[in-house]
C-alpha cells in the first residue's frame, strides 16, 4: 500500500491505496463520481481531470504520481452554487444528450479557456480532440465552449461571477 496526499478541488485528502490504483479509481472511491470511467485506456477522455492545471486522463495516471498534486474535477466547477460559464453555456446550448462525456469535456475546455478564453473554434476542436462524444456530433459543444470563452474574456478571465 502507498500513502497519497492530494488536494482535490481545494480540499486536502489522504488515502492508502494499492500501487496500481489509478487517480480515476481513487477519485471515484472518494465519491467524486462525476469523473467517468469510459474506455480505461486513455482514448475517450471521459475521465479527464486537471492535474496541477493540466488536463490528463485519470485512467492513465497512477494515484502515486498524483501524490502532492492539486486535482480539479467537474465537481469543483461551480462555486457557491453558481455555475461556471462553461456549465451555463452547455445548458443553454443543450450541448449534451446522455452526458457521459460532459465532465471530461468541461475539464478539457476549462484548461483551454483558462489559458486562452478567446480560443478560436479550430483551437477548441484541437483542445477537445481527446474527448469523444457519441451522441451529439460536437457542434453544440463547440458553440458552447466558444460562448463561455467570450463570457470569460469579457469578465477579465474570471470563471465565476
Amino acid at each position: 500500500m502507498i500513502e497519497v496526499n492530494i488536494t482535490v478541488n481545494g480540499e486536502a485528502r489522504t488515502a492508502e491505496v494499492p500501487p496500481e490504483t489509478t487517480l480515476l479509481t481513487l477519485l471515484r472511491d472518494w465519491g467524486l463520481t462525476g469523473t467517468k470511467l469510459g474506455c480505461d485506456e486513455g482514448d475517450c477522455g471521459a475521465c479527464t481531470v486537471l492535474l496541477d492545471g493540466m488536463s490528463v486522463n485519470g485512467c492513465l495516471v497512477l494515484a502515486g504520481r498524483a501524490n502532492g498534486c492539486s486535482v480539479s474535477t467537474v465537481e469543483g466547477l461551480s462555486v457557491d452554487g453558481r455555475l461556471h460559464p462553461l456549465q451555463e453555456a452547455f445548458e443553454q446550448h443543450a450541448s449534451l444528450q446522455c452526458g457521459f462525456c460532459g465532465p471530461g469535456i468541461l475539464m478539457s475546455a476549462k484548461e483551454l479557456l483558462d489559458a486562452n478564453p478567446s480560443a478560436s473554434k479550430s483551437e477548441i476542436r484541437i483542445a477537445l480532440s481527446g474527448n469523444l462524444c457519441r451522441c451529439t456530433g460536437y457542434v453544440k459543444i463547440i458553440d458552447a465552449v466558444a460562448e463561455a470563452g467570450a463570457k470569460m474574456a469579457a469578465h477579465g478571465g474570471q470563471s465565476n461571477g
Binding site: I2, P18, P19, E20, T22, D40, E41, G42, D43, G45, T48, L51, M54, S55, V56, N57, C59, L60, V61, L62, G64, R65, S108, E111, R125, I126, A127, S129, G130, N131
Partner: protein, 294 residues
C-alpha cells in the same frame, strides 16, 4: 490491473540501481501513458514500477555548447510550447503536436515515446533526420549513441531492462537545419501514423544543390529507418519536384510496411512516396526561403 510495487526515484543513479536490483521485472515509468496500457493488455508484467518523473536531471530543454539538449522527461506539450524548439527545431514541435490528444501530450514524454519503440512512434523521425544523439545511463555509467542505433525492433531498444534514457541532443551543426515532418493517420486527431516521415537538408549557396539530406521514416518497418539511398539520390541530383518524387519512389523500396486493419501494405507504399516528396519539397522551400519557409 495486475498488482505491482511502486517506488519513486529522485536521481538517475538511484533509479538505475533499483532497476538492476530488480531486473528484469522492474520498469521505469514517466508519463505512464504507454506503460499502464501495456500492463492492462498483458504486454508487460512488471513487478515494480520505478517512477522517474521527479528526477531533475532528466528535465529541461536547453542550449549547450554541443547543441540543443532535451531531457528525456520533456513532455510533448513542453516541446510544443518551447521557444528553443520553435527557434532551433520547429519540426519537432510539429511532430509532438500529432501525438495523441492534449491529455496524452500533457503527460507523455518525448523520451518515453522513443523508449516505447513502437514502429509508429512520432517522436523519432525528426530527431533522426537531425542526427540526434541520446544519452543512456546504466551500471557502467553514461553512454552516448546515435538515435539511429537506438532501436532494435518493435518495442525493443538498446536500453534493455536496467538502463534509462537521460536526454536527447540535436548537434549544434543541425540547429536550424531545414526540416519537415509529415504524417498520415486515419483521422486528424488521436490517430496512430500509417506512415510518418521527416526530411531535412541544407542547400549549398554556391551550387544550389541539396546537401546532407536526411529522410527518416516511421511505421514502415519494424523500427524507424533512414531511407539512405533516397538521401544520397537527393544530394546527387538537382533539387526539384522530379528529384523529390524519385526520392519518394526509392524510399518506398527501402521500406517493408505491413498489412493490417488500418491500411494495406500497398497503400502504405503509396503514402511513403507521396509524403516523402512533400516533406522534401517543404524542407527545400524552407532552406531556400520559399513560400513555405519559416
Amino acid at each position: 490491473m495486475q498488482p505491482f510495487d511502486y517506488v519513486a526515484a529522485d536521481s538517475v543513479e538511484k533509479a538505475v540501481k533499483i532497476l538492476i536490483d530488480n531486473s528484469p521485472s522492474a520498469r521505469p515509468v514517466a508519463g505512464a501513458t504507454d506503460v499502464l496500457n501495456d500492463i492492462r493488455r498483458g504486454l508487460v508484467e512488471p513487478r515494480m514500477l520505478v517512477d522517474i518523473s521527479g528526477i531533475a536531471e532528466l528535465q529541461g530543454i536547453e542550449i549547450t555548447d554541443r547543441g540543443l539538449r532535451i531531457g528525456s522527461l520533456a513532455t510533448h506539450t513542453e516541446i510544443i510550447k518551447s521557444p528553443l524548439i520553435k527557434e532551433h527545431a520547429p519540426a519537432l514541435a510539429d511532430a509532438s503536436l500529432t501525438v495523441g490528444a492534449v491529455q496524452t501530450r500533457n503527460m507523455g514524454t518525448l523520451g518515453g515515446n522513443l523508449v516505447s519503440a513502437v514502429p509508429s512512434l512520432d517522436g523519432a523521425p525528426v530527431l533522426m533526420a537531425l542526427d540526434a544523439l541520446v544519452t543512456i545511463a546504466g551500471s557502467a555509467g553514461r553512454e552516448e549513441v546515435a538515435l539511429r542505433d537506438f532501436f532494435l525492433g518493435p518495442r525493443q531498444t538498446v536500453l534493455g531492462t536496467d538502463r534509462i534514457l537521460v536526454d536527447m541532443l540535436i548537434p549544434k551543426a543541425n540547429l536550424g537545419k531545414a526540416t519537415s515532418f509529415a504524417k498520415f493517420g486515419l483521422r486528424k486527431g488521436q490517430a496512430l501514423a500509417l506512415i510518418n516521415v521527416a526530411a531535412s537538408l541544407h542547400v549549398d549557396a554556391a551550387t544550389g544543390r541539396a546537401a546532407q539530406t536526411r529522410i527518416a521514416l516511421g511505421a514502415v518497418a519494424p523500427k524507424p529507418i533512414h531511407a539512405s539511398e533516397a538521401e544520397a539520390f537527393v544530394d546527387a541530383n538537382a533539387p526539384g519536384e522530379e528529384t523529390f518524387s524519385e526520392a519518394g519512389r526509392i524510399a518506398a523500396t527501402q521500406a517493408s510496411p505491413i498489412d493490417d486493419f488500418r491500411a494495406s501494405a500497398a497503400y502504405r507504399i503509396e503514402l511513403i512516396q507521396v509524403l516523402t516528396r512533400r516533406a522534401l519539397s517543404e524542407a527545400y522551400s524552407q532552406a531556400t526561403g520559399g513560400p513555405e519557409g519559416r
